[in-house]
């Protein structure tokens, strides 16, 4: 157990103490206790950042379940360090923000909040720091769990519960698929270690089951896409906005949704370089990008705009990773990877700050509806300033970091069109077009956010609270993030070789000494014209907003794909009810019918398959005449039973059958058996008469002919099957020559057990346990009957 292991486990351990802090120190906001942890972790991680020299990869191992190939192994390289810093850094800011955002009221279950949050933090750290696929999966599902719990923090609200269930179902589906994909990788390579898998595939002569490669890829991508809200799985993210804003800022913009991106980046060395990986990721990424940005325009809730914006931006990063995977074949695509990493960082800064701003607006005015907001510029100047920085960066305006990464995005997309592989020549022109259109809409929604909230007329009558500037505590975190936006915008190269390059090494391991230089002015190139075009057309879209909103597609905020999800769930429940009612009808006869048909079919099929029917008419014993009489009488009596209407007659006929069988036992030289049968049958008939005397007469059952015919067929079938098996067993018996174990009893009954009646000796001595238990059965039956007769309770008298 190394320090890094403790780093991952620390949040979980802290979470155990949170309820004590909460109960013990009610006056102090629990968040203050929690704040220390992510701060410490962040500071600890800072020392891994390489200044001047290359990054030292840190590996630590710890066995967990070696028999199943699962080990808690840590692997800290550039990519995981980047994410870990994001998780702990933004985590610190979010906890600080939450202290002022969620008031320490009496009924507010703060301990729940921080337990979930810490659980998430630890799980997320586990995802990015683990080298073992199954351990990643374990932490992955824990993040889904924590996220759902956080979304349903205010679980008395229906929408919160809906959002939590949706996010859980969608992300866990992806999780299960991912698990299957991981297992397939294991089967191909023999290990669960990511680094091991990478080196396995790097070897040119590696032998593996090629048929599993593509399925593994698709399954793992399912996991990544569901977690990172790619189309069409993005529908959970807008509903996740029910969570308190600190949660949205942390999980649903900066960290959890980036887990899928982390996964794609991590697996690029494994799957990258193949056309499927390239096309699937790029297309879904671009599709998500454009769908998200167009959907954002329709929204009236500030948080929803941000949600769709996040979806869109995630698509952007995903698309870049897809394009960049071509680097394995043609290095011109490397810039896409650099852009992806850089934008990852930038997005976290500006989106985080914007979510916090929206939270402030919500907190201070009581609403997030842009139709009710306006003119807050004068009332909340600091918030306004922060938001300008964030929005401008998101829109891609200089001199902020968003501008830089947007330009790099365009570069990456344009460079990709020059690739001569994977059929890009034919279809590649789509990339810049989609990218550009999406950016236009991105610009438009940025303008919506800005103008509708801060400029325009202040409408206090529509607001629930009297709006005022936020308390300083609430402002600290967004200010920090906004400052980063500015700093990274002005001095981007401070990140180049400290964070971006090491991360790039993880994604593209073959690259050595890449040249990364980020700066604002590249001259009048295509990217610049694209940006100018975006600004112009974006403004046009914004000004014509009313017109857009009249088209049906834009009338509703809700994503049309939700219809599939909701309908699907309802259909599932309805369908399952129908299926279940079909089987569990409550009617005993139906149950028997289903079971017997199943038996006949299965046994019949087995017979047929193995050609096992056999008859042996040779080794049979002689039939004496009175045997004929008894048997025929037996058969006649049996067949008559279903036709009897009189209950007493029926009981007596069955009794007669029993006696006839006793006679048969006599003929078959089984005297003890005959005695027992006689006794039992007699008592049975008496019991029957006792019980059924009080019951009504058997009616002639008036059923449809079809009902009776089905019953007849089934019962004849059952009889036939049993007969067939018996014949075949009989034949088999004479085909083999096993000496039955009863021979031992014949030989040893007298000398060892001292008895002449072998059957009795078996019952009492050789197989005495059976007899003891049989008596026990009788005893239980007797006591049960007593209880049955005496105890008559009403429903619900106990539980």
């Amino acid at each position: 157990m190394s320090t890094l292991h403790l780093l991952v486990l620390a949040p979980f351990i802290m979470a155990i103490f949170v309820p004590f802090f909460y109960k013990g120190f009610r006056r102090i906001h629990t968040g203050w206790f929690v704040l220390a942890l992510p701060l410490l972790l962040f500071i600890y991680l800072l020392r891994f950042i390489p200044i001047g020299e290359p990054l030292q990869v840190v590996k630590e191992t710890m066995d967990w379940v070696p028999s199943l190939g699962i080990g808690f192994n840590i692997y800290l390289d550039g990519l995981s360090l980047l994410f870990a810093l994001l998780i702990t850094g933004i985590g610190t800011l979010v906890v600080l923000y939450s202290i002022f955002y969620i008031a320490n009221k009496k009924d507010e279950p703060l301990n729940n909040f921080y337990v979930y949050l810490l659980m998430f933090m630890g799980a997320m750290l586990g995802v990015v720091l683990s080298d073992n696929l199954i351990v990643i999966y374990v932490f992955w599902e824990l993040t889904s769990l924590a996220s759902s719990l956080l979304i349903a923090y205010w679980f008395h609200k229906e929408k919160s519960r809906y959002g939590a269930q949706k996010s859980m179902l969608i992300t866990v589906t992806g999780g299960f698929a991912m698990l299957a994909g991981f297992c397939l990788l294991y089967i191909m390579t023999g290990t669960f270690s990511i680094q091991g898998i990478i080196s396995f595939f790097a070897e040119s002569g590696a032998i593996f089951n090629e048929a599993l490669f593509l399925p593994a890829m698709i399954l793992i991508l399912l996991g990544a896409f569901t977690k990172s809200a790619q189309f069409p799985f993005h529908i959970w993210l807008p509903d996740a906005m029910e969570a308190p804003t600190p949660v949205s800022a942390y999980l649903h913009s900066a960290t959890m949704v980036k887990a899928g991106i982390y996964l794609v980046a991590r697996f690029t060395p494994v799957f990258g370089g193949t056309p499927e990986w390239f096309w699937i990721i790029t297309s879904f990424g671009l599709l998500t990008l454009i769908w998200g940005s167009i959907s954002a325009i329709r929204q009236v809730d500030l948080k929803a705009i941000l949600a769709f914006s996040t979806i869109s931006q995630l698509g952007l990063i995903m698309a870049l990773l897809g394009l960049g995977s071509a680097s394995f074949i043609d290095n011109v695509a490397e810039v896409a990877i650099i852009a992806a990493i850089f934008h990852l960082i930038n997005h976290a800064t500006f989106k985080g700050s914007l979510f916090m701003v929206v939270g402030i607006v919500d907190h201070e005015t009581g609403t997030r509806d842009i139709r009710k907001l306006g003119g807050l510029m004068a009332i909340m100047p600091i918030t306004f300033t922060i938001s300008i920085i964030g929005i401008a960066s998101m829109a891609g305006l200089p001199p902020f970091n968003g501008f830089l990464s947007k330009e790099m995005f365009f570069t990456g997309v344009l460079e990709a069109t020059t690739l001569n592989i994977f059929n890009v020549q034919t279809l590649g022109f789509i990339f810049p077009i989609v990218a550009w259109i999406a950016s236009v809409f991105t610009f438009a929604y940025c303008m919506i956010m800005f103008f509708k909230t801060f400029t325009g007329k202040y409408q206090p009558e529509k607001l629930e609270k009297k709006a005022h500037e936020a308390p300083i505590g609430l402002l600290i975190s967004p200010i920090v993030l906004a400052s980063l936006v500015v700093i990274f915008g002005l001095f981007p190269n401070m990140l180049s070789y400290t964070i971006i390059e090491p991360a790039m090494q993880s994604v593209l391991p073959y690259v050595s000494d890449p040249y990364i230089n980020i700066y604002h002015w590249h001259g009048f190139n295509a990217e610049l014209f694209m940006t100018i075009g975006v600004v112009l057309f974006g403004t046009v879209v914004f000004l014509n907003l009313k017109r857009w909103q009249e088209t049906t597609f834009f009338l509703h905020e809700r994503d049309p794909l939700n219809r599939f999800y909701d309908g699907g769930l309802e259909g599932l429940v309805a369908g399952s009810q129908r299926v279940t009612n079909l089987q569990l009808t409550g009617l005993l006869r139906d149950y028997f019918a289903y079971m017997m048909v199943f038996m006949i079919l299965l046994l019949g099929w087995t017979f047929f398959r193995y050609d096992a029917v056999a008859f042996n008419f040779v080794d049979v014993s002689e039939i004496s005449p009175y045997l004929w009489i008894i048997t025929l009488a037996l058969i006649a009596a049996t067949i008559s039973v279903p036709f009897i209407q009189h209950r007493v007659t029926a009981i007596i006929v069955v009794g007669v059958i029993g006696f006839l069988i006793a006679l048969l036992f006599v003929v078959f030289r089984a005297p003890d058996l005959a005695l027992t049968q006689l006794l039992v049958e007699t008592v049975m008939v008496v019991l029957f008469l006792l019980c059924f005397y009080h019951l009504p007469e058997l009616r002639k059952e008036s059923f449809k002919a079809r009902f009776k015919m089905t019953n007849l067929i089934i019962s004849v079938g059952m009889g036939a099957i049993v007969t067939l098996i018996a014949f075949s067993a009989h034949a088999a018996r004479h085909g083999l020559s096993f000496e039955p174990i009863s021979q031992y009893f014949v030989e040893n009954s007298v000398p060892l057990a001292g008895g002449y009646n072998m059957v009795n000796v078996i019952l009492v001595d050789f197989r005495g346990l059976d007899t003891m238990l049989e008596v026990l059965v009788l005893g239980v039956a007797a006591l049960g009957i007593v209880a049955l007769i005496k105890l008559k309770m009403k429903e619900g008298q106990d539980i």
Binding site: D63, V65, S67, L68, I134, Y137, E141, L142, L145, A152, F155, H156, R161, M168, L169, V172, T173, F176, A180, Y186, I187, G575, S576, Q577, V579, T580, N581, Q583, L588, Y591, M595, F598, M599, T606, F607, R609, D611, S728, A729, A732, G735, F738, P740, I741, D765, R767, L769, L773, L776, V780, L783, G784, V786, L788, L791, M793, E795, Q797, D798, I799
Partner: protein
């Protein structure tokens, strides 16, 4: 030390008989029962330890040599099952102390409880197929009595159906034994294993496969495989929760155990056929079971129908047939015994609080009874297979084992069913525990559930431990699986003695 393997059968039997005499002295009954069940847990754990160290323990009853007399055989699989059966029984017993109506207690509940346990433990430990029938009957008659005890209208009606279906199965059990004895001339498992293998080689594998399928059907009926599961949902809904939990945790597992035992030990020929059939049935069972759970909106009913779905997972491992898969099966059987019982007990606690099991009539319990809510939550996600709890590792062993054996479709089905399991568990959680509280604060004060939760807490802890400490647990199950996959180990322990 081979008399010890009789204790899990003998002790409950004697205690049960003694308790009949103390019908009306409830405190004595409770005290003796509690001590006995806890003692059983300890003894069976010790037996498992012995077997792990020294190998299979056998006991020839009456000193009659195998295969002529009846033998009790304690191998790892059997003793693991006995341990977990004892744990389940202990938990349900302590829950019953607090929830069972005194009338039921006076009418021989405790003796029946112990006779049920006798039958269950005996079924696990026996080495003789007719003896298995007799132990089954002991178990079944006790279950009949427990299910119907109290005699409410619902119980009577549904128990009738259950008893008839079960007896139907028992009769076919007799038929199957008759056929097997006719072909092989013996009743002892080890001896049967030898003779069946010989007979198969002599060209009689066809009829033996038919007999094997017949046994599969019989045990499948006891174990509630689809399409033989119809008796289960309503039969478990009727009795009080303590009894439903007890039966749910034990009865079907005996059926599953018997299938696994006969198909790894005796019917080892033509396995590409028999195991495929088992795999198909596993898939059907998993699927239709979970569909049933999705369709219901009653807490107790969902849990009852769910048992069917989980049974599917249990035999899935057998159908795949590799060591990892069978270890996964054992893992999932034991995990299920623990977690399902815990869920039932929490359902019972909820019933005590709200007076109903209808999901639509309760809400918001998380706020008023947080401990109950969180305990339920942990148990529920464990059932659904969320890591790092016991449910995950058991499912993982099955998934990995299945993929390694290239049984892709069944793995796909199992993952889909896992999702639907999660869906149905979340549904319960959302209806019952989330939402605004349906109970007023005065009602909350009246219903203290603290003590009711006590039997469930060790179960949840065990589930967590079985997850985090998956390595030693898995090693134990793997050893059991290895023992099962090599019939000669069993045969040599029994017959050469």
């Amino acid at each position: 030390m081979n008399n010890i393997v009789l204790l899990p059968v003998l002790i409950p039997f004697l205690v049960g008989v003694i308790l009949i005499l103390f019908r009306n002295q409830l405190p004595i009954q409770r005290f003796v029962s509690g001590v006995t069940t806890l003692g059983l847990v300890g003894i069976s754990a010790y037996i498992t330890y012995l077997i792990y160290q020294d190998g299979i323990i056998t006991l020839e009853l009456g000193n009659w040599p195998a295969p002529f007399g009846i033998v009790l055989v304690g191998d790892l699989f059997a003793s693991i099952m006995v341990v977990f059966a004892s744990i389940v029984a202990a938990a349900c017993l302590f829950f019953a102390f607090q929830t069972l109506h005194p009338d039921r207690e006076k009418y021989y509940f405790y003796p029946f409880f112990f006779f049920l346990l006798t039958g269950v433990n005996g079924s696990f430990l026996t080495g003789d197929i007719f003896n298995l029938f007799v132990f089954f009957e002991v178990m079944l008659i006790s279950s009949f009595v427990l299910i119907v005890m109290g005699g409410t209208k619902y119980q009577l009606r549904e128990s009738f159906k259950y008893v008839v279906i079960s007896t139907f199965g028992s009769m076919f059990f007799v038929i199957a034994v008759a056929l097997l004895y006719s072909v092989t001339g013996t009743l002892n498992y080890a001896h049967l294993a030898e003779r069946v293998a010989e007979a198969a080689q002599q060209g009689q594998s066809g009829i033996l496969t038919v007999i094997a399928i017949l046994f599969l059907i019989v045990f499948g009926l006891k174990g509630a495989l689809v399409p033989l599961h119809f008796w289960l949902p309503n039969a478990y809904f009727g009795p009080p929760t303590a009894i439903a939990a007890l039966l749910g945790g034990l009865l079907t597992k005996v059926g599953v155990y018997s299938i696994m035992r006969t198909h790894t030990l005796i019917f080892t020929h033509n396995q590409d056929f028999t195991l495929t059939i088992i795999l198909i049935l596993a898939g059907l069972t998993m699927f239709f079971g979970v569909i049933g759970a999705v369709s219901k909106f009653d807490f107790k009913r969902i849990l009852a129908i769910h048992i069917v779905s989980q049974v599917g997972y249990m035999i899935m491992g057998l159908g795949i047939g590799t060591t990892m898969a069978i270890a996964g099966s054992i893992y999932i059987i034991t995990h299920n015994m623990i977690v399902k019982t815990a869920l039932f007990l929490f359902c019972g606690a909820t019933e005590k609080v709200t007076g109903t099991t209808n999901l639509k009539k309760m809400s918001g319990l998380l706020k008023t009874h947080p401990y109950l809510g969180w305990l339920f939550f942990v148990a529920a996600i464990s059932l659904a297979g969320i890591p790092p709890l016991s449910g995950f590792f058991s499912k993982f062993a099955l998934v990995l084992g299945g993929l390694e054996a290239e049984r892709y479709f069944i793995v796909f089905v199992s993952l889909v069913v896992g999702l639907l399991t999660l869906f149905s568990m979340v549904k319960i959680f959302m209806y019952v525990f989330w939402g605004s509280p349906s109970l007023s604060p005065e009602e909350v004060k009246k219903t203290k559930v603290g003590k009711l939760l006590i039997p469930g807490i060790p179960l949840v802890i065990i589930s967590i431990l079985m997850g985090i400490l998956a390595e030693p647990v898995y090693l134990l199950f793997e050893a059991a699986a290895n023992q099962m996959l090599d019939p000669s180990i069993y045969i040599n322990s029994v017959i050469k003695e």
